[in-house]
């Protein structure tokens, strides 16, 4: 009771002295990087399980991988990281990695080929959401001790058939390629879970940072690894703070309470860019906005109707208004900067053309439901589309819901139209080709809910085989041409209305240098940042 009284007294004094005495901090400490970001999508930090954007940011900074992308030169593609070099067998099915010597985990244990083999095997055996990135090479829990093997300083992985080497290595730069400390992880194993429960909230990596704490919906705190083989990072502490509102992030940034605001909307970007000491950094990301037209719907499955919808999007109007600066028009399934990406955008906003197509298909009084996730920009895209469709005589009803609500119906092939966003999983064209244009079995029984083409009920009109061929093609130029051809056909016949590609706009204090959110290919990196 006494302590409480004292507390009351002090509170009262503070109130009396006046809140004016609390002045905001002018800037953050020189060795600390403070970021405002929405991190409510983080559900786990285990690299074998983590799959969402904010979680990938953590993994990228905490876990080393066999091969990795350099934040200062992302265009260079994968580079040696924990593996110093690699060779490919004659049949193209086995890659042998030679591990870098003298690298240690945060625990002090050396990073060995055994750890690398364990990490990849573990990801396959656990079979969590991102496991498909590895299992697409034919790894199964049963064969994994044979197909992924450590031998001394070397690690051999053997795929079920010959793939483009770049495809395999690109996949290993994904979060799931993170190498964990076997000794530490297995010491924390519970009921044969290979340390999954423990790693969900703890880290055992060798990267430039170690995880101090992750408080769900609050903050992520990282501290630097002074023994990082690439040199100790300049920022000794990185704090990512969960701030939902764009306006709040902007206020924090303008007042100098944070160094970087990552979720400002176009209006706040415009406002913040005129504030003192704030600069805006644009990076083209891999995320695409699209409409998916359910092919189980009798009208939507008509080719003319699919075409018509592509003319019912006010591409330029949206890009120049509420999406300003944050999305660019992109009508192909491979994001710009990807191998084989096409920059053809043949469709424009044309109500008359859409009406003609609809009339040709004999469609009248069409009424469809569109499922939209509750993000403001998506709701606005939905309303803009609704408005355009109404002019062409189509009544569109918008249903807004949380991710789990809307997604469930999309996966069950129940929605007429889904307004979706899709981000690539690894920096290889297969990541999108293998889902938008690949669907070997379109029957309900196949239940291939992971494939967008299946969810849309589209048999891909022959693109499936072309995608299969492209992914095993070893010659780079031939492969590029194959993807360009696939995309050209896709634009014309697919039930996907590809609309926009995201540009991430980070607002930074002007003393922050070398910031990278990973562009279209990977997640954000902190170790190269200086102030």
């Amino acid at each position: 009771m006494n302590a409480f009284n004292r507390l009351l007294t002090s509170a009262a004094i503070c109130l009396a002295v006046g809140v004016t005495s609390f002045t905001a901090h002018a800037e953050t400490p020189a060795n600390m990087l403070v970021i405002a970001h929405r991190i409510d999508d983080v559900t786990t930090v285990d690299p074998a399980e983590s799959f969402e954007f904010a979680g990938s940011d953590i993994s990228r900074n905490v876990y080393g991988r066999l091969v990795n992308l350099d934040p200062n030169d992302l265009a260079a593609g994968y580079q040696p990281d924990l593996a110093e070099s690699w060779t490919v067998s004659e049949d193209g099915k086995t890659i042998t990695f030679t591990m870098r010597e003298g690298v240690t985990f945060h625990s002090g244990n050396p990073v060995t080929a055994e750890d690398a083999a364990f990490s990849l095997q573990r990801a396959v055996i656990l079979n969590k959401t991102p496991a498909f990135i590895l299992t697409q090479f034919g790894f199964t829990p049963e064969n994994v001790t044979e197909t992924i093997k450590a031998d001394g300083n070397q690690l051999m992985i053997t795929t079920d058939k010959k793939y483009a080497t770049s495809f395999v290595l690109n996949c290993l730069t994904a979060t799931i390629g993170g190498i964990v400390d076997k000794q530490v992880v297995m010491a924390n194993e519970v009921d044969g879970d290979m340390g999954n429960t423990w790693l969900k909230t703890n880290s055992a990596g060798s990267g430039p940072y170690k995880l101090d704490s992750w408080k769900p919906n609050e903050s992520v705190t990282l501290s630097s690894n002074p023994d990082y083989y690439g040199g100790a990072p300049a920022m000794e502490r990185v704090i990512v703070r969960h701030v939902i509102e764009s306006a709040s992030q902007r206020l924090l940034l303008e007042r100098g309470d944070i160094d970087i605001a990552r979720n400002l909307n176009p209006e706040d970007i415009a406002g913040a860019s005129s504030a003192d000491g704030v600069v805006i950094a644009d990076e083209l990301k891999g995320r695409l906005m699209y409409l998916a037209l359910n092919q189980k719907h009798p009208e939507l499955s008509k080719p003319e109707v699919r075409q018509a919808f592509k003319y019912l999007i006010d591409y330029e109007g949206m890009r120049d208004s509420f999406l300003k600066g944050q999305y660019t028009i992109h009508q192909n399934f491979l994001p710009a900067t990807y191998l084989g990406a096409s920059d053809e955008n043949p469709f424009t906003y044309n109500i008359e053309k859409a009406k003609e197509l609809l009339a040709a298909a004999g469609v009248e009084n069409l009424e469809v439901e569109i499922g939209v996730r509750e993000a403001q920009e998506r709701i606005e895209i939905g309303q803009s589309f609704q408005n355009a469709a109404a002019q062409a005589g189509i009544k569109v009803n918008i249903t807004v819901g949380t991710a789990a609500q809307i997604l469930g119906r999309y996966r069950a092939r129940e929605l007429d139209v889904y307004l979706g966003a899709w981000g690539p999983d690894y920096p290889d064209p297969q990541t999108n080709a293998g889902t938008f244009a690949y669907n070997p079995d379109n029957s309900d029984e196949a239940n291939a809910t992971g494939l967008l083409a299946w969810r849309t009920g589209w048999d891909t009109g022959g693109l499936t085989e072309k995608v299969e061929a492209a992914v095993t093609e070893g010659d780079r130029d031939t492969r590029v041409q194959m993807y360009l051809d696939i995309q050209e056909e896709f634009r014309e016949i697919s039930p996907f209305v590809m609309m926009f590609q995201q540009i991430e706009q980070s607002a930074l204090r002007d003393n922050v240098k070398n910031w990278s959110t990973g562009q279209a290919v990977t997640a954000a990196a902190y170790w190269q940042v200086t102030k």
Binding site: D268, G271, M318, N387
Partner: protein, 302 residues
């Protein structure tokens, strides 16, 4: 002359019939209500709101759904768009006017559902007593102890977002207090001599509850409902704000605030105008409720 006569008839001290007495009481209530300036202001605002809602197509300057991306976020006082335009270039004033319909619709529905359910549960519980009372009151307690937000959110989440479901969700969280009031009133009334007299005459429970207990509970419920209206409007706005109320492009005020809060720093009016609309209407209901309480239920108030 007729007017004077009517006035005298209404103000008589010696009513000639039951109907006369009732009318007289009503008129005197109205007089005392009319002298309450604040309450009258509330009433006038609400009447205006009803008028606006009814005449929405006639008085709104634009179609509330027509978009104009080239003229978005126009500031206050823009010619043709007095209250500016929103993120999709729609006229905010027109949206507010059409939004009044939604607000009235929600309020009316909740005001119909919640008190009726409460009245039913409360009077039955109070009159029948015994285990029925125990069970019903236990259920009421469970609903009371429920974090209201969880209940409403869960309900909307279960049924899907939309105005009707928002109305049901709000009603679901709003009925228990009415049940409590109705039960308390029933307990007092039940033990009164006049109910015993009716019972002796052989009236059944159903008849007693509907014909004798309900009418007596109504006045305190009306006061309570009017005072709760503001809460209902704010709750509906809160659901809309969380994206669980009316679906786009519907101009529901709470959803409009939610849409506009993104621009709060540079285009403050987009969120402020619907905020003021909500404030004005709930204030009006509060003023009216205060006045009604003074008239109908002087004990309960101040």
């Amino acid at each position: 002359m007729a007017e004077h006569y009517l006035r005298a008839w209404l103000l008589t001290d010696t009513p000639t019939s039951r109907r006369h007495a009732k009318m007289s009481a009503l008129y005197q209530g109205w007089l005392s209500f009319r002298s309450n300036t604040m309450a009258m202001i509330g009433l006038i605002i609400l009447l205006l709101l009803v008028l606006i809602a009814a005449a929405a197509p006639l008085i709104s300057p634009h179609d509330p759904f027509v978009q104009d991306l080239g003229n978005r976020l126009a500031p206050l006082g823009t010619p043709g768009h007095i209250f500016g335009t929103d993120s999709l270039g729609r006229d905010i004033l027109s949206r507010l006017i059409y939004g009044a319909r939604i607000t009235l619709y929600i309020v009316a529905l909740v005001a119909l559902i919640a008190p009726v359910v409460g009245l039913l549960v409360g009077t039955v519980s109070g009159y029948v007593g015994g285990w029925v009372d125990v069970v019903l009151m236990r259920i009421t307690d469970i609903f009371l102890a429920f974090p209201r937000l969880v209940l409403a959110l869960a309900f909307v989440a279960a049924l899907g977002a939309g105005i009707e479901n928002a109305v049901l969700a709000i009603s679901l969280t709003a009925w228990p207090p009415y049940a409590r009031i109705a039960r308390a009133e029933t307990l007092t009334i039940r033990s009164s001599d006049y109910i015993s007299a009716i019972q002796l005459q052989g009236a059944g429970a159903l008849r007693i509850i509907t014909k004798h207990i309900w009418p007596l509970c109504i006045s305190s419920l009306i006061v309570r409902v009017t005072l709760d209206m503001a809460g209902i409007i704010l709750a509906a706005a809160g659901l809309g704000f969380l994206g669980l109320g009316a679906q786009p492009p519907s101009p529901e005020w709470g959803a409009m605030i939610s849409e506009g809060r993104r621009f709060i720093l540079d285009h403050w009016w987009v969120a402020t105008m619907p905020g003021l609309a909500i404030f004005t209407v709930s204030l009006a209901f509060n003023l009216l409720g205060d006045g009604l309480r003074d008239v109908l239920d002087p004990k309960a108030g101040e």
